[in-house]
Amino acid sequence: MMSKFSDITKLKEKLINDISKSQDISQLEDIRISSLGKKGFITSLLKNITSQKPEDKKEYGEQVNILKKQITEEIEKVREDYLQKDIIKKINQDKIDVTLPIRNTNLENGRIHPITQVMEEIVEIFSDMNFSIAEGPDIEDDLHNFNLLNIPDSHPARQMVDTFYLPQKDGETKLLRTHTSPVQIRTMLNEKPPIRIIAPGRTYRSDSDQTHTPMFHQVEGLVIDESANMGQLKWCLEEFCKAFFEVSEIKMRLRPSYFPFTEPSLEVDIACRKEKNQLIVGEGDEWLEVLGSGMVHPQVLRNVNLDPDKYQGFAFGLGIDRLAMLKYGMTDLRAFFDSDLNWLRHYGFKVFDIPSLSKGLSE
């Protein structure tokens, strides 16, 4: 049965066919303009409603509006397809190889020297135990480096170390400090007890082989008050070693020894063992000498005008470079001072590896 509006039906079939045959978004647009545009034939059909018979007008109007809606929807649908295809095509054209490397960043390239890092670790730990950080000059005199530390000129202990000397100035012997201990003297002369300091810094001895360099680093510790004793010294060093090596227990051995500026004096060994060429610190059957310490010698206290019957305290000295080697596994001390780029890159620390007790010293 032929509808009264078979023209509309035919038109619809033709337009649907045209739309499906369109090649791209611009052909589709042409179809839209020719059909739905201001002068398009669907628009004209709508206008033709006036020339319809009155009884047909309603149905005619409905039919044309249905046609308009269907064609609009069809065009929209196909346009969406074209847009999708275009995006896909564009994406396909825009591909790059994201696996290409980036440039090295400054943060990646920069390095902090292990000595700085380990010094900062040490400072973190001792400041938690309420130690302040003191300093003294590298160029010292006889008085501070030796005499006031109970090492008079003739003392055989002067031969325990090989001192670098500078020319005398105004009758005073100038030298490079052989240990950080003169900072003890400078601190005690300038401050009233209670004193609790560490003093990290450069020290110098005329010695050079795989385990000795003419310059190296020490940190001195000093506690002076009216009750500091050897038990506290032991606690302090145990706490330090546990925190520094980041272990929960540490086996420690105190060996009587001799330093002119402490009495009694102790050398401190920590237990260690080798596991697959790696040194495990804190346990095991071998002993590692890590530091020297003792109760401050009464004569040293007198030398800085403190009454040894009233004041007492302890002191200790650690080798920073050696601690770094034990913790991080370097084998040759000399390489610390060689500025070899590969070594610095390998053993150096990254910028944001900032030692902190709350964030973990080295983790």
Binding site: I139, A157, P298
Partner: protein, 803 residues
């Protein structure tokens, strides 16, 4: 100090094992440095018998030996010419350590024949250099038994480090005494011989007043002796501790030096001309010593001299001309307790390290002086015969032992350990103290051999040593109450920040020696002779550095030579302007060469590689300063007045006023680069944090009020033509000084010379950011602002605006 276990047991009655003894030595402060224990070295080896010898099928010089070992039969390939059937030899099984070769023995196949173990020569056993053949043992040796009883090196050797205070432990007897005090056996009695004295010494022996301080000297003449080679036991003992046997007389003195810590000297009496005098040397007197070196003496050195001059340097070394030898018949034996300070000074002056000096400068037991002389006399009599004179003694006789009062409470006060009183008394008496108790005070008489003890703290150390440090228990220190306060100073914090800032800019931190070579130093600053080391290790490290740059340039050069191309290094340390405390100046210095790594370095697929330039190091400096609170307008950049190691046209100094230099930056002077043999531009900076980090704390942390604007900023560009000599900084300062609160930022976006610009001129493009706060600006207002700027710049710099 070296000794053997059997030597120790001459003085100590003990069943303790070598390991127990060594542990105890460590724990009483006599640190064991090395143990050579034949039990361990040779424990794997056993005695075997060769039961068959056949030629190796594929090698002329090798034999196949069938063995009878403790493991049963065995076959080894052996190259030794002396193998024969029936011979007893040392068998080393697979897996044993061969001391003379320093290897662990593996099963091997030698020319197609399997060898299961090895027969050892003396050299392989580390007994001697003999490698002529394998060691042949006594034919009665039992197969399978360990070899220890059949070789000469069976006594363990212990080497300990003696701290300078413990002169008493520089003899085997002293060590035995300390061990016995610590409960490791009983000290044996020392037999003191009775010497038969028959005559007087004829030649005069004199102690001059100028050398008599703290000296006690005794001499004895022994006549008609027969010197010669020492008996084997004596030679072995000396040899094993590394001393060469010379002759009986010399060996006796060396032996007693080590055995009883009693240094002695022997003169050939007949070679002493006329008399012997202890006196100070005369200036420029010379002596040829037993080490065959001639020493130049002065009036501080004590000598023993005869009519010919010095015959011995007191307490240090004897002279060649009066020394004893095989022909010595009459020997003058000297036992002197010298002034230890004089010995130390003389020894150091002359650079002589002898066993005698080592002991004499530490102070030996004066009360033992004459006993030592008698023991030596007796030993010489036994080895060489002879008749003895009466003793001549000169100088200050040994006085009574020193006394000290000791408060028992000191132990707990210093150690934090409570020790029972009777135990304290016991420890002290075992150490040789005579103890008298008076309430809580001990009146102690210090043993004559312990001249290191003079304080109560020394007594506490003795008790701690012997009681054992295991008894010291950890006692927590009081930590801060509440939150810890700040612990580091401003400058310490600044240094730490600088390091992280520079590292964040891609630089690597180095730590280099504080001393450099003066051949470089002099090119940087005028050499300050105060800073020259008197005793440098080498001429490469002979002066303290006044700038960190020579070290850094040297490091750059070394890395360039290793093939690195892009290098950025820095160091934060001290520069030394002089030797005084305040002349040690904090410095952060850095160097860059090559291509900027962050721009791709030398190899990046994006291609563009940019060389470092002056503005990279300027950026380094400003990054640090800005981070540390120094704004760009807090200083001026001065162009002249830089140290002459900087390129005069490509460097700047950041100054506050004429004196306070915050930093230098720029290209290094080409002559410096060529001094270090670097053929490219080197960029450097030095920052001096002391110049701007004040040692004060911040008063308020509240920041100035925040003034935000709801209006968009607008931008205006200006281009002027300036004289070439005009500096950008002056232009910026001029605009800033207009103090127009509307100008919020000034940028230089272009600097141009060339076409359309006169030769002595340059064009500079300036971009201003204008930030209105109260209302949007009208065109008229903007034009007015522009006019002010154009007017000011044109007037001040005779510049013309470009359009």
């Amino acid at each position: 100090m070296k000794f053997t276990l059997s030597w120790l047991k001459d003085h100590l009655e003990t069943d303790a094992s070598i390991d127990e003894i060594c542990h105890q030595l460590n724990m009483i402060g006599l640190e064991v440095e090395h143990i050579e224990n034949p039990q361990k070295t040779y424990g794997d080896f056993s005695i075997c018998e060769i039961i068959e010898v056949k030629k190796h099928p594929n090698a002329d010089k090798l034999n196949l030996c069938k063995l009878n070992t403790k493991f049963g039969g065995g076959e080894v390939v052996c190259g030794a010419p002396n193998v024969r059937v029936g011979m007893k030899a040392v068998f080393a099984p697979e897996g044993s350590y061969i001391p003379g070769l320093g290897i662990k023995l593996q099963a091997t196949t030698i020319r197609g024949v399997k060898s299961n173990g090895m027969l050892l020569s003396e050299r392989e056993l580390s007994l001697s250099e003999d490698h002529e053949g394998i060691l042949e043992l006594d034919k009665n040796a039992n197969i399978g038994e360990e070899v220890l009883g059949y070789i000469k090196r069976s006594d363990p050797v212990i080497e300990i480090a003696i701290t300078p205070n413990r002169a008493d432990a520089l003899g085997v007897r002293g060590i035995a005494r300390d061990l016995s005090a610590a409960g490791m056996g009983e000290l044996k009695n020392l037999e003191i011989p009775k010497i038969k004295e028959e005559f007087e010494i004829e030649k005069k022996i004199i102690l001059n007043d100028n050398a008599s301080e703290n000296v006690y000297a005794s001499f004895r003449l022994i006549r008609n002796i027969k010197n010669g080679e020492s008996p084997q036991w004596l030679k072995d003992r000396l040899e094993i501790i590394g001393l060469r046997s010379i002759n009986k007389l010399v060996d006796v003195t060396n032996y007693l030096t080590y055995d009883l810590c009693r240094p002695l000297h022997v003169f050939d009496y007949d070679k002493i001309n006329n008399f012997l005098e202890i006196r100070k040397a005369k200036d420029a007197e010379k002596m040829l010593a037993l080490d065959d070196k001639e020493y130049l003496l002065n009036n501080k050195h004590t000598v023993l001299a005869d009519d010919n001059g010095p015959e011995s340097i007191a307490g240090i070394i004897g002279g060649r001309s009066s020394g004893s030898d095989e022909g010595t018949v009459n020997v003058l034996l000297e036992a002197v307790t010298w002034d230890k300070i004089n010995i130390a000074q003389t020894g150091r002056d002359l650079g002589i390290n002898s066993d005698a000096r080592y002991r004499n400068e530490r102070g030996i037991d004066k009360s033992f002086n004459d006993v030592g002389l008698d023991i030596a006399t007796d030993m010489i009599n036994k080895l060489c015969g002879g008749e003895n004179s009466r003793v001549i003694s000169l100088g200050t006789k040994p006085k009574e032992n020193n006394k000290i009062n000791f408060r028992l409470s000191e132990i707990d006060r210093l150690l934090g350990v409570k020790i029972a009183e009777n135990e304290v008394l016991d420890i002290l008496s075992r150490l040789g103290f005579l103890v008298k108790k008076n309430n809580q005070i001990l009146e102690l008489e210090i043993p004559s051999w312990r001249n290191d003890i003079y304080e109560q703290a020394c007594i506490v150390e003795e008790i701690m040593r012997i009681k054992g440090t295991d008894n010291i228990k950890s006692i927590p220190m009081n930590k801060s109450v509440g939150v810890a306060s700040r612990k580091i100073t401003n400058i310490q914090k600044a240094r730490s920040q600088i390091k992280r800032i520079l590292a964040s800019r891609g630089m690597m931190e180095t730590v280099s020696y504080s001393f450099i070579s003066d051949k470089y130093a002099s090119h940087f600053v005028n050499t300050n002779n105060e800073l020259k080391l008197i005793n440098p290790l080498s001429s490469e490290l002979n002066i303290l550095r006044q700038s960190l740059l020579p070290s850094l340039i040297n490091s750059i050069k070394k890395n360039l030579d290793k093939g690195h191309k892009d290098i950025s290094l820095f160091e934060v340390s001290h520069s030394f302007m002089g030797v005084e405390v305040d002349q040690q100046v904090d410095t952060a210095a850095g160097i860059r060469v090559g291509k900027a790594i962050s721009h791709g370095g030398n190899n990046d697929w994006r291609g563009k590689r940019e060389n470092y330039n002056v503005f990279d190091v300027k950026e380094d400096v400003l990054s640090v300063l800005r981070a540390q609170g120094i704004e760009d307008n807090n200083y001026k950049i001065s162009i002249g007045d830089l140290p002459n190691y900087y390129h005069p046209g490509k460097s700047g100094a950041l100054c506050q006023g004429p004196k306070n230099v915050l930093a230098y930056f720029g290209e290094l002077h080409p002559t410096i680069a060529s001094l270090f043999d670097i053929d490219q531009n080197v960029y450097a900076f030095e920052i001096f944090p002391n110049s701007y980090i004040a040692n004060r704390r911040v008063k308020s942390r509240v920041r100035p009020g925040f003034n935000s604007s709801q209006f968009m900023p607008l931008y205006r560009d200006f281009a002027f033509i300036f004289d070439k000599e005009v500096h950008a900084e002056e232009i910026i300062m001029t605009i800033r000084k207009l103090k127009d609160t509307l100008i919020s930022d000034i940028k230089i976006f272009d600097v141009y010379t060339g076409e359309n610009i006169p030769k002595d001129k340059k064009s500079i493009g300036i971009n201003l950011e204008i930030q209105p706060y109260e209302k949007t600006l009208t065109d008229a207002e903007i034009d007015e602002l522009s006019a002010i700027i154009i007017n000011e710049i044109s007037k001040k710099f005779s510049a013309t605006i470009r359009n």
